[in-house]
């Protein structure tokens, strides 16, 4: 009996070739998409940041390479009354709200829902409503109630309280929108935290309960370490959005809405507004600067999260 080794080798090579063909054909579209909509977009963004358009002597509009966008950027950042500076400071406020208030609150709410407090299924759906209903709908309803001569205004008037016009006053407009973000965004990371908590082995939780640990100790020393990959990912993604943090400024700033146009700016809204008005170079430069500033922060946080990682296996 002879064993045809060559045929066997050919068969293995064919199988390998088929596997490789399958693999590369299945990832090809995703890779091409990534090259166009991520790599090309970002390379173009860097180029735009160093360009400006100018008119030549014969009337043609050409693009020239210049550092002028960054010069304007630093001048604007240094001016107290510039929309860029206002946007930068407001963005930091939204970030602090999101990261240091809403993340812990969201985690705590997820924990109590995981512990099945009364009506937990109903709360899950109701808390998530602002995430599933369009911002157009929710902002409209919010403004209907808090606007001048709205319901809250009238109710407070009946008890002799003169409610300020929160959205018109530039000092209270941003805190009001921040309140809206907090009020509607509590369920932000709830899905991920709930998904991770639902996978915790019951035996571990039971063992803790039998040992008589408090709920705070259970949350801090048992649940949080076990959902660390999910939690740290949400923290890292939160820091990734450091300079994108914002509220639905566009929805609040409809024309004729009576909302203060000054005092409500954020970096995201400012970039969006410049882009829809056909200004591309300056916001691209802004974006490059803040991207470069974010990188060490995000990678630093990632390093910190991995250092703290309790590496619980289950």
């Amino acid at each position: 009996m002879t064993i045809d080794r060559n045929n066997g080798k050919k068969k293995i090579l064919n199988q390998k070739a088929r596997r490789y063909i399958f693999f590369y054909s299945f990832v090809a579209f995703a890779i091409v998409h990534f090259c166009i909509f991520y790599i090309a977009v970002n390379i173009n963004s860097i180029l735009l940041a160093f360009k400006q358009s100018t008119r030549t002597t014969d009337g043609k509009i050409v693009e020239i390479f210049t550092l002028g966008n960054f010069k304007t950027f630093f001048e604007d950042l240094g001016r107290a009354d510039s929309p860029l500076r206002e946007g930068f400071l407001n963005t930091l406020k939204y970030f602090v709200l999101g990261m240091f208030v809403m993340v812990p609150v969201s985690l705590s709410i997820s924990y109590f829902l995981y512990k099945k407090i009364a009506f937990y299924k109903g709360f899950r759906i109701i808390l998530f409503l602002p995430s599933i209903i369009s911002g157009v709908v929710f902002v409209s309803m919010f403004k209907l109630i808090i606007e001048p001569f709205g319901l809250i205004h009238e109710l407070l008037g009946k008890i002799g309280v003169d409610m300020p016009f929160l959205l018109i006053n530039e000092k209270t407009a941003t805190p009001t929108i921040m309140f809206y973000v907090f009020w509607t965004g509590l369920a932000g990371n709830m899905i991920l935290y709930q998904g991770a908590m639902n996978r915790l082995p019951n035996e571990v939780i039971e063992a803790g309960r039998l040992d008589g640990i408090t709920w705070t100790r259970e949350l801090w020393s048992v649940v949080l370490p076990m959902i660390w990959p999910t939690f740290s990912m949400t923290v890292i993604l939160g820091f990734t959005g450091l300079f994108s943090a914002s509220g639905p400024i566009l929805l609040f700033l409809e024309s004729g809405s009576g909302v203060a146009t000054k005092g409500t700016n954020t970096l995201s809204y400012y970039i969006f507004d410049l882009t829809r008005n056909g200004i591309y170079y300056y916001p691209a430069a802004m974006g490059i600067f803040f991207t470069v500033c974010s990188l060490p922060i995000v990678f630093g946080i990632r390093y910190l999260m991995s250092k703290i990682d309790p590496e619980v296996e289950y």
């Binding site: 990534f34 109590f112 599933i132 969006f272 591309y280 802004m286």
Partner: protein, 301 residues
């Protein structure tokens, strides 16, 4: 002896005290969540009552009073009267609704389908470049890209996809958040099912579509529902990139910008509330599956 008994009694009481403490915490949290839930539902109810008023009552009467006449017909009027005018072309609510349908279904389908293909291949097949793809996905998710909107606008313009349904290609990225979730899921699926299918003569593509995909249907459903809800509610994308195809979200935003003097506000609010009905129904059906989405498997890789 009495001191020993007292000491033992004290030790037994501690777990009871701790459970009591948790019960109090649960009551407090329940009360706070109940107030918060009421505060979220109340504006919906209030907007509903407002949408039942007449235009005269809404603009000249007490807007905070209950409707004098309960005009449920405002909801039918929303379909007939509300129109978005763009470049001289009028688009009514049914058109906005249709635009929302193809935009959200197209975006959800393309995103999930392309991600499932790339996630499955990377999870189950060992080929050169596999780890590079995985690392690129994780690293790029953490790179904060700010201010790419101008570049996107210019690139999309030069690709000719602005103001065309081809804009949906933007959502066909296979290396994002959905990739991570699906990668974790496929990684945990036993390969034995595929081996059995190979023995029966199935090819790689057949195994993917007939063995693996059916097992991932619950996850596809959850991710698809989330993607659909996100696309349905998206207003900035259609505002910037699909001006000729206003969706319910972007169209109602444009209508909200119009003065109350020219707009029947109760009918507008009826339209706004109607636009939320499909996503509420969708979420109500799939909330359980959506809540079970987990990042864990995808992260460890």
């Amino acid at each position: 002896m009495d001191a020993v008994i007292k000491k033992r009694k004290f030790k037994k009481e501690t777990p009871v005290r701790k459970r009591k403490g948790f019960r109090i915490a649960k009551i407090i949290v329940f009360a706070l969540l109940a107030v918060h839930a009421f505060s979220l539902l109340f504006p919906v109810a209030w907007a509903f009552l407002y949408s039942l008023k007449s235009q005269v009552e809404a603009t000249t009467g007490n807007i905070n009073a209950l409707p004098k006449q309960w005009l449920f017909g405002n909801y039918a009027d929303a379909f007939k009267v509300l129109e978005v005018v763009e470049n001289g072309i009028k688009r009514s609510m049914p058109v906005l609704f249709l635009n929302s349908l193809w935009y959200s279904i197209g975006a959800a389908f393309l995103g999930i389908f392309v991600s499932s293909m790339s996630a499955y291949a990377v999870a189950k097949y060992d080929a050169p470049g596999r780890k590079v793809i995985l690392n690129v996905v994780i690293v790029t998710m953490m790179i904060p890209i700010i201010g790419s909107l101008p570049s996107q606008y210019r690139l999309f313009s030069s690709l000719g996809i602005i103001n065309t349904p081809f804009y949906l290609l933007v959502f066909a990225g296979g290396l994002g958040f959905n990739f991570l979730i699906l990668y974790g899921y496929f990684r945990n699926l036993p390969w034995s099912y595929a081996e059995a299918a190979f023995i029966d003569g199935a090819g790689h593509v057949g195994v993917f579509f007939r063995v693996m995909m059916p097992q991932a249907v619950p996850l596809f459903t959850a991710l698809g529902a989330l993607a659909l809800i996100g696309a349905w509610n998206d207003y900035t994308g259609p505002l910037l990139f699909l001006r000729s195809y206003p969706t319910l979200s972007s169209g109602l935003y444009i209508l909200r910008m119009m003065s109350a003097r020219v707009q029947n506000m109760p009918v507008l609010y009826a339209g706004i509330l109607l636009s939320a009905v499909p996503v509420i129904v969708l979420f109500a059906f799939f909330s359980g599956k959506i809540m079970d989405i987990s990042l864990g498997g995808g992260l460890k890789g």
